[in-house]
């Protein structure tokens, strides 16, 4: 170390070197007692022919005995430096399809029937067997492993690992976790996603599609793909399939093909390419590959030509890769987030699929695991994102619609309010106009007529001042009564009469007539509106005027009393009377017309010394 004082670089190199040595020695310590057995004496029997020979493990049956079923016995010899004191374990990554494991003549484990070809498959799980230390010895230990292998079923024997249980078991557990537990999770996940996608397909309609509502094929493809994937991955965990080999294998293989086809179609939907003319060709091509895959599966699993299956996988994988490249190119040129996520999933899975194809179908690796089953989860996530994005869009649309609806309602309310205000204005206008008409008529019949008369009287020069004055007074009286009529409480006959008397008081005073007033209080008559009150006012005024001007009476009695079902008004005088049969006289016709207009009756009885004008107004409507 003293040299290193002025050579720090050297010191650093030495430290590195020491670290490497330390790691190597640690690794040696870890595996010091674990044996990995690669060499075996094999006795292989195929179609009655038995052959012997030295083989190195892993022994992949489908590679060595392509297209044939058979059985084999492997003998593996090994020595131990000492008889172990701790429990040992044996870990075999893969063996089967049925097997027996013997150690020094002791049966350690047996699974399946060695004679029953195409029966249950026990080559799916890694195996771990506890080994009692007392079976082992230092020299001449023998593992004897017997297997039965079916055609195209990944039978064979992987290298054996023997060592202390606490060292070997974790290796087994890790492999088991990835191959079995992981696969179970994938199967369940795929089933869930698939069923959810199918439920969405059954319930959701694509509103944007032209024509009538249409189910969205995107969900159908995703659902079918996930279900197919669940079936194919389940092959990795089901040892005793519901249908016999090779049909089960055929189904699993077909499911993989169908998964790939459905996924490519799903991606085409996401990319929005399903309506392109090229999509028709893509669909035809995929259908063709799917049909061919059935034949390839039969050729591979029944007739022992695994190349058929490999080629089918390769074809689908390359199709997916080419498609993925197109999708990636499109997404690089700007596409939706769904499209981008889908592009990444597709490209990644295509690459992983090709890796798996190489590892499983081309290289002689035995006992490895597919990666595709895990990478396929990306498709599920893609679908999840698409569904979420769609729901977000849909709820935004709903919010927009609601907002629009609220705005519409507000607008309509405003319009309604305006229309209502307009109607009210019109009604008020109509009311004003009716009122105006009434006032104009009043002015025409009353003040107007009197002023015209006065003008005529003055122009003719024949009328005396007294007569003109009388006319003008009449005119002002009419005007006052018009104004009073506006203020008269509707239907109040008593008030009407009282007011009339008040207005005519100067005239009564001026005449010699003895006025007798006999007016009872009469409850207001609902049927008499403003117009009717004015008519009634005119009628009574006319009757009183007649008495004052023409009757030469000494007494004038004004009576008003309820005589149910009428209110009765009578004007009685003891003047000279008149001929009631001459309707033109003394405004009788006008009075009759006005009576008719208000639904009342007016009658005249006249004889010298006793004249009665009687008005009967029905009390009820």
């Amino acid at each position: 170390m003293s040299f290193n004082v002025y050579l720090p670089l050297r010191f650093w190199r030495q430290a590195q070197w020491r670290l490497v040595l330390l790691l190597v020695s640690l690794a040696q310590m870890t595996h010091a007692t674990t044996l990995e057995l690669h060499q075996a004496q094999a006795v292989v029997t195929v179609q009655g022919q038995t052959s012997r020979g030295e083989v190195s493990l892993p022994y992949h049956w489908d590679v060595h005995q392509r297209g044939l079923a058979g059985e084999a016995t492997f003998e593996l010899l090994f020595d131990l430096p000492e008889v172990p004191t701790v429990p040992f374990g044996l870990y075999v990554p893969r063996l089967g399809n049925a097997y027996e494991i013997w150690l020094n003549g002791v049966l350690l484990q047996r699974n399946g029937d060695l004679k029953r070809y195409n029966g249950p498959d026990y080559a799916k799980e890694p195996r771990f067997v506890e080994v009692e230390p007392d079976i082992l010895r230092t020299d001449g230990n023998v593992f004897r492993v017997r297997i039965r292998a079916d055609v195209g079923r990944r039978g064979g024997l992987a290298a054996l690992k023997l060592g202390p249980e606490d060292e070997v078991y974790p290796l087994y557990a890790s492999n088991f976790r990835w191959r079995s537990t992981g696969s179970q999770v994938i199967v369940i996940l795929s089933l869930l996603i698939g069923l959810m996608a199918l439920a969405l397909w059954a319930t959701q309609f694509d509103m944007a599609a032209p024509g009538q509502n249409q189910r969205d094929p995107l969900y159908l493809y995703a659902g079918l793909a996930e279900l197919c994937w669940a079936v194919s991955v389940s092959d990795a965990v089901i040892e005793n399939p519901p249908i016999s080999w090779p049909w089960w294998g055929l189904l699993a293989f077909f499911s993989v093909s169908a998964w790939m086809v459905a996924m490519i179609l799903f991606c085409a939907e996401v990319a929005g390419w399903s309506r392109l003319p090229a999509a028709t060709w893509l669909r035809r091509w995929l259908m063709l590959v799917l049909v061919v895959s059935v034949a390839a599966g039969i050729g591979s699993l029944v007739y022992g030509e695994p190349l058929a299956m490999t080629l089918t996988y390769a074809t689908l994988g390359l199709t997916a890769l080419v498609f993925a490249v197109l999708v990636v190119v499109k997404s690089a040129r700007g596409a939706s987030m769904s499209h981008k996520i889908m592009a990444i999933s597709l490209l990644f899975n295509a690459l992983v699929g090709l890796r798996d194809l190489y590892v499983f179908r081309i290289s002689p690796v035995y006992g490895s695991n597919t990666w595709l089953r895990y990478s396929s989860v990306l498709f599920g996530l893609t679908l999840g994102y698409i569904v979420l994005a769609r729901f977000r869009t849909a709820s935004a649309q709903v919010r927009d619609s609601l907002e629009n609806l609220a705005n519409e309602v507000k607008k309509k309310e405003l319009e309604l309010a305006q229309a209502y205000a307009g109607a009210e204005r019109a009604a008020r206008q109509q009311e004003r106009s009716a009122e105006r008409t009434r006032i104009l008529r009043d002015m025409h019949d009353g003040v107007g007529a009197h002023i015209s008369t006065a003008i005529r009287q003055l122009q003719s020069g024949k009328a005396s001042d007294e007569e003109v004055l009388h006319t003008m007074r009449d005119s002002l009286d009419q005007l006052k009564m018009s104004i009073d009529a506006m203020n008269l409480p509707p239907g109040d006959v008593t008030a009407l009469l009282a007011n009339l008397r008040y207005r005519l008081e100067p005239r009564f005073k001026a005449s010699d007539v003895d006025l007798q007033w006999d007016v009872d209080w009469i409850p207001p008559l609902v049927r008499l509106d403003d117009r009717a009150m004015r008519h009634l006012q005119f009628m009574v005024y006319e009757a009183l005027s007649n008495v004052l001007q023409h009757a030469h009476a000494k007494t004038l009695l004004i009576e008003a009393t309820p005589v149910l079902p009428f209110a009765r008004i009578r004007v009685i005088d003891n003047g000279r009377g008149f001929d009631v049969t001459q309707p033109s006289r003394r405004g009788i016709r006008t009075m009759r017309d006005r009576a008719t207009a208000v639904g009342a009756t007016i009658s005249f009885h006249s004889s010298p010394g006793h004249t009665v004008v009687e008005i009967l107004i029905p009390v009820t409507v």
Partner: protein, 240 residues
Amino acid sequence: MWRVLVVEDDPLMREFFAGSVSHCDALQLIAAVGSVAEARTWLSRDASAVDVLLIDLGLPDGSGLEVIRLAIALNPVCEPLVISMFGDEDNVLASIEAGALGYIHKDSTPDDIAQTIMDMRKGASPISPMIARRVLFKYRFNESNKAVAPVDIAQIAIKNIADAAMATDTADSQSVLSPREHEVLSLIARGFSYGEIARLQGLTVHTVQTHIKKLYGKLSVHSKSEAVFEATRMGLLGIR
């Protein structure tokens, strides 16, 4: 001899009224003016010189009601008489509430005018059936309102305080109309003359007339207390 101030904007009418007053021996015309401003000037100079104010409501620079209020304020014994074209109830009632003790029609004869002034001085105020009815209705309505409406307690309290504040110069304003007044008003509303009412009620015509004149005063005071009440309610006066 009663001194009369005429306020009328139409020169012809003014001349007519002035003439009517001048021709009566019992009356003395002190002035005939045509605007609120002129009337104000006259009144502020010496309001006590005016016994009777004969006034038109529609004046070019304001309402005759202002002048009536001013005259009463300056000289409470002054008796305003309103010149009305139609004797329509809205204007007449407003005048009474401002303090007028009668009204006179524009188309009255000169004698009528002088007579009406004399009658009023002697205690006779004219009232038409329409106005009688309106007064009846208004105060009956008020009474029934008090009985029925669930009045805010705070308002009642305020009103009581306002009434107490007014109690120095007014009779109990809660009951504006005495039963006798109510009856007289009812008969007037039905069209009976003062003479007929006097006969029916066993009174003299003079008593009936006095009732009416007193009623005028009450209505005026009541309208003032109402104004105080309203002002208090609206927070214009500092009564708490």
